[in-house]
């Protein structure tokens, strides 16, 4: 997720335009080459487009009808992947869409990773919206190129274009049996005018070769042979290595330091200061001292020998245990109303049965397997960066601001990411490399250790949720109040921000899809003392934990089966009416992506059926739990099976996840994302907890911030997709939110122990 101010205009605003007639491209491309630009953003500037075309082989190929595809005369098709690959498969999925509409032979396709450039549209690969936003753009790119090749062939044969068609990397004239390969046609096609959008003929679903079918990753072989290049693997001529000592407390400053011992370490060259940031922190470097050395090890060793006195500043008052109690108090007091229907207080006052509960989810760290790392080279007012980033455009503007140079003077090459989960959409570490390169005059590789990663993150926020329901005689809620408090992500962009904005609250909170006449959704204030940032699924993690655990609690309180009870809460099939509520709907139109309870009910039904819910005899110490949640426009129901022994040892033999994500472009990757979400959710639930003492983070590495290993992870996760023609929705994130409460509800079923505060390790369940 991203705040609106950082989100580029929607890709729907795109228009294909013939740029070959513009003077500024002259001299850059081979004679007669056709250049079309898919203009995705209004503020596109000529210089940046020129640069992008030059830097991309797709852009410099003989035929390149837009910025996403280029065809060489040898038939090689270059397709640009403009979104970051962190394991979702997007670098394969979107190019496959282009290749399909182009009717290209995938074995002759080369995928090129885009540099940061606004002409590609938003590149911040977060919020599970890559396919949603770019599926149609990619189809147009492929269909445009295909039609131009057909027209070139038709002209060559002197037959009507209508008589010709594409056939796997060739154009064929059926009547005469003549064929020409794409490579043979590229030069001629480059001279043709761009067909208007109305002239494009898209393939039918039946004609798709790749879309909607399982397909392996473009990078698979490289990943299995150690050849894939991640940010950690970038090497540049003359490069030096840096390890940064960051202020232990956010906003802290170096008071004094002694680098005598550090400089004695073999391979250490010098110690360089990075200035403290001026709040708000945003994506700026944290400040501190960098040890510059000949290799990573020397930099790490030198850093250990550096003696630093810190001025910790105002955030040193932060103690997370005490803060937890503050959140518990705040969440009991009235907050700002974010959604209201009926008269909740009036219903509560009637004196019927009420149930209430408070839930708590601590800070979490992303802990991608590849810690933050970046190489940057400053030269003559220009910076070139090579890094694992989810957001190369943020790399551009963050470095530009740090060095006071124009955005377009920053070139950001994007490597593969060794995990992202939201951490790598914040390029503070890349800015560190740029600042240090300018100061040292050398290409600098900044390597964060695992300790840096855990201690200096952008933490998933800490939260408390208060829920209260009034129940009628049948046990169904007549009134429902839910209030959350959490230091908001907005605090990194605006000093002192204490309330969640409409985006934060839309994540599983204002969109509660329950059929309850009196309903109020609130948010209370909470101050941030550490950097808060998006983490896979974001606010849905804690909001779904609260609503789905509370739902289970109510079911048990009134003696109902949890699945049946969820059906009652959801109510009849309908579009949830959110009039009067500021509900951003993940940036999508509510008309195209409404909250449709029929779809929510369907996944719940599917998960219940597939898991054998209610039909299986569970033995002592075993149990099943359920949760259902819509996030990132995708509907997910999850049933988790657990075994808990007398010592609190938890085993998760089976997970059943039913998913309605609309049309699914690549089922292979989608399945993997939901399998992975169950493991990610296991880590959150079992042991996920970041705490702070006197402003400094207590955890440091995988021994004190454990994540799920093979024996602790679900043994088997089965994923069931609803076959759907609905517009594509999110895949990477929506599996996480329902998993955590489903797991905790299963633990209740197995043990009678109700978990209202995460993680489970605090309840002697591991």
């Amino acid at each position: 997720m991203d705040t609106n101010e950082h989100r580029p205009p929607n890709a729907a605003a795109s228009a294909i335009e013939n740029l070959s007639r513009r003077g500024f491209l002259k001299g850059l491309l081979s004679a007669g080459a056709l250049v079309l630009g898919v203009h995705l953003v209004r503020h596109a500037a000529g210089a940046a487009l020129r640069a992008a075309a030059r830097r991309s082989r797709a852009g410099s190929a003989t035929l390149h009808p837009d910025l996403f595809v280029g065809i060489e005369s040898d038939g090689t098709v270059y397709i640009v992947a403009h979104r970051s690959e962190m394991g979702t498969g997007i670098r394969t999925s979107l190019p496959l869409v282009v290749a399909d509409e182009l009717d290209a032979d995938w074995s002759r396709v080369k995928v090129e990773q885009a540099i940061g450039d606004w002409h590609y549209g938003g590149q911040d690969t977060d919020g599970s919206h890559s396919i949603r936003d770019f599926f149609d753009v990619m189809r147009r790119a492929g269909a445009t190129a295909r039609l131009m090749l057909i027209e070139a062939a038709a002209a060559r044969w002197n037959v009507p274009a209508q008589e010709c068609e594409a056939d796997l990397h060739q154009v064929v004239h059926r009547a005469s049996g003549r064929r020409l390969g794409y490579g043979e046609l590229a030069a001629a096609a480059a001279h043709l005018p761009v067909p208007p959008k109305e002239a494009l003929r898209f393939k039918t679903r039946q004609q798709w070769r790749y879309i909607g079918k399982p397909h392996k990753s473009y990078d698979l072989a490289a990943q299995c042979t150690g050849q894939a290049i991640y940010g950690m693997d970038v090497r540049r001529e003359g490069m030096l290595y840096a390890a940064v000592v960051h202020p232990p407390v956010l906003g802290g400053k170096v008071k004094s330091y002694d680098d005598k011992e550090a400089l004695k370490v073999r391979g250490v060259r010098r110690v360089v200061a990075i200035e403290p940031f001026t709040p708000p922190a945003a994506f700026q470097p944290l400040g501190g001292l960098a040890v510059i050395a000949d290799n990573t090890w020397a930099a790490f060793q030198g850093r250990k020998k550096l003696a630093v006195q810190w001025d910790n500043g105002a955030n040193a008052v932060y103690n997370s245990d005490q803060f937890k109690q503050e959140l518990f108090e705040t969440v009991r007091a009235p907050g700002r109303v974010a959604r209201v229907a009926g008269d909740v207080d009036g219903e509560f006052k009637k004196g019927g049965r009420t149930v209430e509960a408070v839930y708590y989810v601590p800070h979490l760290a992303h802990a991608p397997m590849e810690p933050p790392v970046a190489v940057a080279e400053y030269r003559d007012g220009m910076v070139t960066a090579w890094t694992c980033t989810q957001n190369p455009q943020a790399v551009q503007y963050t470095i530009a601001k740090a060095l006071n140079i124009p955005d377009e003077n920053v070139i950001c090459h994007v490597t593969l990411l060794g995990g992202g989960f939201g951490r790598k959409s914040k390029p503070d570490y890349v800015a560190e490399a740029a600042v240090l390169s300018k100061k040292t005059g050398r290409p600098i590789k900044v390597v964060w250790s695992r300790e840096d990663d855990i201690k200096f993150g952008y933490y998933h926020t800490v939260s408390a949720m208060y829920l209260k329901a009034a129940l009628d005689a049948g046990g169904k809620p007549t009134a429902w109040l839910q209030r959350s408090v959490f230091p908001p992500i907005g605090s990194i962009f605006k000093v002192g921000e204490r309330y969640g904005n409409a985006d934060d609250l839309s994540l599983g909170w204002t969109d509660i899809p329950y059929d309850i006449p009196n309903l109020r959704v609130e948010n209370g204030p909470a101050k941030a003392y550490v950097r808060i940032g998006w983490l896979r699924s974001v606010g849905n993690i804690y909001h779904a934990f609260a609503t789905q655990t509370f739902s289970d609690e109510l079911a048990h309180a009134v003696g109902r089966d949890p699945v049946d009870y969820l059906f009652d809460l959801i109510g009849p099939a309908r579009i949830v009416d959110l009039k009067g509520t500021n509900y951003p709907n993940y940036g999508a139109s509510y008309a195209a992506y409404p909250i449709d309870t029929a779809r929510l009910r369907r996944v719940l039904q599917m998960a219940a059926e597939k898991s054998g819910w209610g039909k299986r005899k569970m033995s002592r110490g075993t149990g099943m739990g359920v949760a259902v949640h819509r996030s990132f426009l995708t509907y997910v129901a999850t049933v988790v099976e657990v075994e808990v022994d007398d010592h609190g040892k938890l085993r998760i033999p089976r997970v059943h996840t039913a998913v309605d994500a609309g049309f699914i472009s690549n089922p292979e990757f989608a399945r993997a994302q939901f399998e992975g979400a169950a493991v990610f959710g296991t880590s959150i639930a079992r042991t996920g907890e970041i705490t702070a003492t006197d402003g400094a983070i207590n955890q440091s590495n995988f021994h004190d911030y454990p994540v799920a290993r093979m024996p602790e992870a679900p043994v088997r996760t089965d994923v069931y997709f609803v076959d759907s023609d609905a517009p594509p929705a999110g895949i990477g994130e929506p599996g996480v939110p329902p998993f955590v409460p489903a797991l905790c509800n299963a633990i209740f079923a197995a043990t009678g122990k109700r978990v209202r505060e995460l993680p489970l390790s605090r309840h002697q369940i591991t």
């Binding site: 394991g87 072989a221 299995c224 290049i229 290799n295 397997m369 590849e370 399998e675 992975g676 493991v679």
Partner: protein, 154 residues
């Protein structure tokens, strides 16, 4: 001067003897298939074979490596044709892929000593390798498939 063989190639090292093998492989030899994940032998991303046994390169100092035989992910096959690598590709194991060099090296070592591993033995052998994307289910399947393929070979 420390002499060793890395993927069958003679090497000599005269740098800081406390430097872990990981950084020698990555920063000096440019063998970047072996990954840095924790630096404390907690995550397994840096798993290599030392005289045939799996070790964590991030805590194996160069001074211990005189006359050692080191094999990295780049050394188990020239072209990704090792049965474990083939099984990994067939099962579509990797998501981000960063940990997979280490996972593959642990799996190769497991299968070398145990051609018929059960679930429990796979868990034990692989528990030291973290995958944050959560590919464990496919890793387990790939190990079983590789075991079968390797037995078929014999």
């Amino acid at each position: 001067m420390i002499h060793l063989r890395v993927n069958g190639v003679e090497r000599s090292f005269d740098g800081d003897p406390t430097m872990p093998l990981l950084w020698y492989l990555r920063d000096e030899l440019g063998l970047t298939g072996t990954k840095f994940g924790c630096g404390m032998s907690l995550c397994g991303a840096c798993t290599v074979h030392l005289d045939g046994k799996p070790v964590r390169a991030c805590v194996t100092p160069m001074r211990q490596l005189a006359n050692a035989q080191v094999v990295t992910i780049e050394g188990i096959s020239a072209d990704g044709s090792h049965p474990v690598q083939r099984a990994w590709m067939q099962a579509g194991v990797p998501q981000c892929g960063y940990c997979q060099s280490g996972q593959i090296m642990s799996a190769v070592a497991l299968l070398r000593g145990n051609p018929h591993p059960g679930d429990r033995e796979i868990d034990d052998a692989m528990a030291g390798n973290i995958c944050r994307c959560g590919t464990y289910q496919r890793i387990r399947a790939a190990i079983k498939a590789a075991a079968e393929a390797m037995r078929g070979h014999e």
